[in-house]
């Protein structure tokens, strides 16, 4: 049946309330099972041997000693993962990243793996594997890697997207460009121009749960995988392709997930665990250590960005330009491209041009991290915008309001906007009491805007009505932070029943059709759309059954507040039939009642936020403290407002960590020096203030309830909001993230020396 996803106003009863989540009790009692909490009879312990070199040719691997160690059941190298990728370059990169084939490309790159009866034996076995490396020159810095004569990471890479086909290989895999108008002419009309270069360091998503899985491959070619992931269907597809099996023969069950933020969208250890299990003939449990998570999962890009923006005296921006260089690790990516798309998305610009360069370096393969690529671009652009506002002599909020994108604006990356929230978030910030609160000595206030696209994607949902009238909702998008509660609310809303009568579960890959993963803020957006569609299908059946029970035409049966009601005077005496009553009779009216939905959730509404931050700087040490923080963001419609607030707060906190502290530090030897939570310090409770939130609801016209994705945008503004606050507090413009005490102190001293 055709599903109409368009928004229509309604009076919500369930949506917008704040019930306790269905998976909550298991999580506060310790019963919820995460990746490492699952075990199988007879399972072995898997461990991975990793390269200590940033860049090295693998000349020979001798596993014979390890194989002879009692208790070792399998040892594998790349030779045990033959290439089934059939020319699919992206899949080949994934394969090579799971287990280095010819060269180790970063400190931590997997080169071999063992499965043994216990952890101690596995660790011993790793020490017995002899790898003969030829160490090669390496490069870990994004700007260095672009230079002429930099060590080449892959000599088969020739830059794509250049006007002339390059003749020499390069570490730049791709150039991409966006924009419209004529920036040259635009700068000609500018009275003021800001031009600056910025850098941001590489950060990690920092999920507290390390990657973990149990793989069990059977002799008949089938296999089971139990894993913490943001997308079990995607993991199934990738693992099946890499291992040369039919996707349907691999059942992937997602565990509870202990944080992902984009970092659990890629396979790393899972194909290795499956290969080990296949070779050993027993289940294999593989859990990464924290050190491995830092060295060998996927952090975000390090970047180097140049920005130039011009404005007239009246505050109108006449031209904007940015060049963005993003590190990808050793494999091609599209990170700078996304950065180039998002850079100026908040503004209404006549002349805009952004250029992105994807740069290979000897670091782990970059993975998505919450609104991937957008925070760095926003840091550069929003810092420059603040400076420009100052030059023009306007209040930074007013300056942004004057130039903000609106409905009908052609975005800097192409499409024309529908109804959007950037203007309203700015107005809300302008009127927020936070903006008027007094500041003390060495304190400053900053604000910044952020944009993120949000994705829709393939979604499949089953809604089954039990004979007792309770509802089981089986979804295929992983619940990363309360979506089972939101989706139960949606089902309750559409069916007109109580939230308590709906139970949502995440189904495994053999029980439901394909679903894209939970990324791009799509979990609640897309699956709520599929849930509404499934519920509407179920309601159709419920009406048909009621019609049958009453022996009237289905056209005379409406669905209201969880009941079938007979329409028209001639049926005046029929009363109502509740969902429960119809369900109870289902055995005699045609069997089980269910609603299914398979759709591509188009029309994810773009999302905007504006943040305000107060900061205090200690001029003696360069130490900073966030005093107050406010997030204003458009949610379209907040399904479960408490979890929407949670997304806002969590993203802000991650952004604060990124802005002030977190960074990958590589030594001259190309090895990661801070692969642990002690030296890679994420914000703790005592580092942060309460994080105030204000939810705006500007309905997304492409969702029945107006929902927009809310998960990611909140990490986009903090880097810039904090940099602007710091600049106002200390009078120095910070251009290098993180703004750690030594960098702040150096900037202060440079300013003092004048």
């Amino acid at each position: 049946m055709n599903f109409d996803p368009r928004y229509s106003t309604r009076n919500f009863t369930a949506v917008g309330t704040r019930p306790i989540r269905p998976d909550g009790i298991d999580k506060v009692t310790g019963r919820a099972r995460y990746g490492a909490d699952f075990n199988m009879a007879g399972q072995l312990v898997g461990r991975i041997l990793r390269s200590p070199h940033a860049h090295a040719k693998i000349k020979k691997i001798d596993t014979s000693k390890a194989e002879k160690l009692p208790g070792v059941k399998a040892v594998i190298t790349a030779a045990d993962l033959p290439d089934h990728t059939n020319g699919d370059a992206a899949m080949y990169d994934i394969l090579d990243n799971c287990m280095a084939r010819k060269k180790a490309l970063y400190d931590g790159h997997a080169v071999a793996a063992v499965a043994a009866i216990d952890a101690r034996t596995a660790r011993q076995a790793l020490k017995l594997i002899e790898v003969d490396y030829e160490v090669l020159a390496h490069v870990t810095d994004v700007d260095e890697a672009m230079k002429h004569g930099a060590p080449l990471i892959n000599d088969a890479v020739f830059t794509e997207g250049l006007e002339e086909k390059p003749v020499k290989p390069s570490n730049v895999t791709k150039r991409s460009q966006f924009g419209h108008g004529d920036v040259h002419a635009g700068f000609g009309h500018a009275d003021f121009v800001v031009e600056r270069s910025f850098r941001t360091e590489q950060t990690h998503q920092g999920y507290i749960e390390p990657h973990a899985c149990v793989a069990s491959a059977n002799a008949d070619g089938t296999a089971d995988l139990w894993v913490c992931t943001q997308g079990h269907f995607v993991y199934r597809q990738h693992c099946a392709q890499l291992l040369g099996m039919d996707a349907s023969k691999l059942r992937v069950t997602s565990s509870e997930i202990g944080g992902g933020f984009g970092g659990k969208t890629h396979v790393w250890a899972e194909p290795v665990a499956l290969a080990l299990s296949r070779k050993a003939g027993r289940p294999v449990k593989l859990v990464m250590t924290r050190d491995e998570v830092f060295r060998a999962s996927g952090p975000t890009s390090a970047t180097s960005i140049d920005v130039r923006i011009g404005a007239r005296k009246d505050g109108t921006i006449t031209a904007a330009e940015a060049t963005l260089r993003y590190s990808c690790g050793p494999y091609a990516g599209s990170w700078a491209e996304v950065g180039a798309m998002t850079s100026f998305a908040c503004y209404r610009l006549e002349n805009v041009k952004t250029v992105g360069y994807e740069v290979l370096v000897n670091r782990p393969k970059t993975a998505a991290y919450r609104a991937p690529s957008a925070p760095m671009a926003a840091f550069a652009v929003e810092s420059a915008i603040d400076e420009l506002a100052k030059m023009v002599g306007m209040d930074p909020v007013d300056f942004r309001i004057k130039n903000a994108a609106q409905e009908g604006t052609r975005s800097s990356y192409g499409p024309v906007y529908g109804p959007i929230g950037i203007g309203p978030t700015l107005e809300a910030v302008k009127n927020h009491p936070h903006m008027k609160a007094p500041l003390g000595k060495n304190q400053g206030r900053g604000m910044a805007c952020g944009f993120w696209f949000n994705f829709g994607g393939q979604t499949c949902t089953d809604l089954n009505i039990g004979m007792d009238g309770s509802v089981s909702l089986a979804v295929g998008t992983i619940d990363v932070g309360g979506s089972r509660a939101s989706l139960s609310l949606i089902a309750a809303e559409e069916l007109g029943i109580a939230y308590e009568h709906v139970k949502a579960v995440v189904a495994d890959t053999s029980s439901l059709g394909y679903n894209d993963m939970t990324d791009g803020s799509r979990g609640t957006f897309s699956t709520s759309m599929a849930t509404i569609s499934a519920a509407r299908n179920a309601i159709r059946t419920l009406r048909e059954r009621a019609a049958q029970m009453w022996d009237i035409s289905v056209d005379d049966v409406a669905w209201e507040h969880g009941h079938a009601v007979a329409r028209g005077e001639k049926h005046g005496n029929l009363g109502k039939l509740s969902l429960k009553e119809i369900a109870a009779a289902s055995g005699t009216t045609g069997g089980p009642i269910a609603g299914h939905s398979e759709l591509v959730a188009d029309g994810a509404g773009v999302s905007f936020a504006t943040h305000i931050c107060d900061i205090e700087v200690d001029p003696e040490t360069g130490a900073t403290r966030v005093l107050r923080y406010t997030v204003v963001q458009d949610a379209g419609k907040a399904v479960h407002p408490t979890y929407v607030e949670g997304q806002y707060q969590g993203g802000a906190a991650q952004g604060i960590g990124w802005a002030l502290n977190e960074e990958y530090i590589y030594g001259k030897d190309g090895r990661l020096q801070n692969a642990g939570f002690l030296d890679y310090r994420i914000p703790v409770c005592s580092d942060l203030p309460m994080i105030d939130t204000q939810i705006l609801e500007i309905p997304n016209p492409n969702h029945p309830y107006g929902v927009r994705g809310v998960g990611e945008t909140s990490i986009v503004p903090p880097l810039a909001a904090i940099a602007n606050a710091l600049s106002n507090a200390a009078g120095v413009r910070m251009t290098h993230i993180p703004m750690s005490p030594p960098r702040v102190l150096a900037a202060l001293e440079a300013a003092r020396e004048g």
Partner: protein
């Protein structure tokens, strides 16, 4: 290596197990006793996800040896509720949505329990410093702090 025989008390029950001398209490709880409520986020004492209370002291169970539990009292998240009756902290964590992914939750509940045992009416700052040994990457701590404040009120009032 020869195993060490250990007799201890976990959540009020006497428990006996054999473990290797170099095995951590966290490994024993999770891998030998099936008490997977305590989580391993780092294994180096930096995240607090493995927090348990040992003889009234908050410890990272990844930094304690299984053999050290001999003759002592261990409290884990599995022992916080009494049957169907949740501990006030558990109830308030649910009501305030103080968890998103929930991997840090057992550690926070145990650390907060220990904090409130020592300081039944902590200020916001005391809560923030009291829980600074536990990492949460999802929530920004706001709702965790509020849940602990609310639980403290409830426990004092009750």
């Amino acid at each position: 290596m020869a195993g060490v025989a250990v007799s201890t008390t976990i959540n009020g029950d006497s428990v006996e197990y054999l473990c290797q001398p170099d095995e951590t209490l966290l490994e024993v709880l999770r891998d030998r006793l099936g008490l997977t409520g305590a989580k391993e986020g780092c294994g180096t004492g930096d995240c607090g996800a493995c927090s348990v209370i040992l003889d009234g002291r908050l410890v990272c169970s990844c930094l304690v040896l299984g053999a050290e539990a001999e003759g002592r009292q261990v409290e884990t998240v599995e022992g916080m509720a009494h049957g169907e009756q949740l501990h006030p902290l558990q109830q308030k964590f649910l009501e305030h949505a103080a968890l998103q992914c929930g991997i840090c939750t057992p550690g926070f509940l145990i650390a907060a329990k220990d904090l409130l045992a020592k300081n039944p009416s902590p200020t916001e700052e005391e809560i923030r410093f009291g829980l600074a040994g536990n990492l949460c990457r999802c929530t920004g701590y706001d709702k965790i702090v509020r849940a602990v404040q609310d639980a403290a009120n409830m426990m004092r009032g009750a």
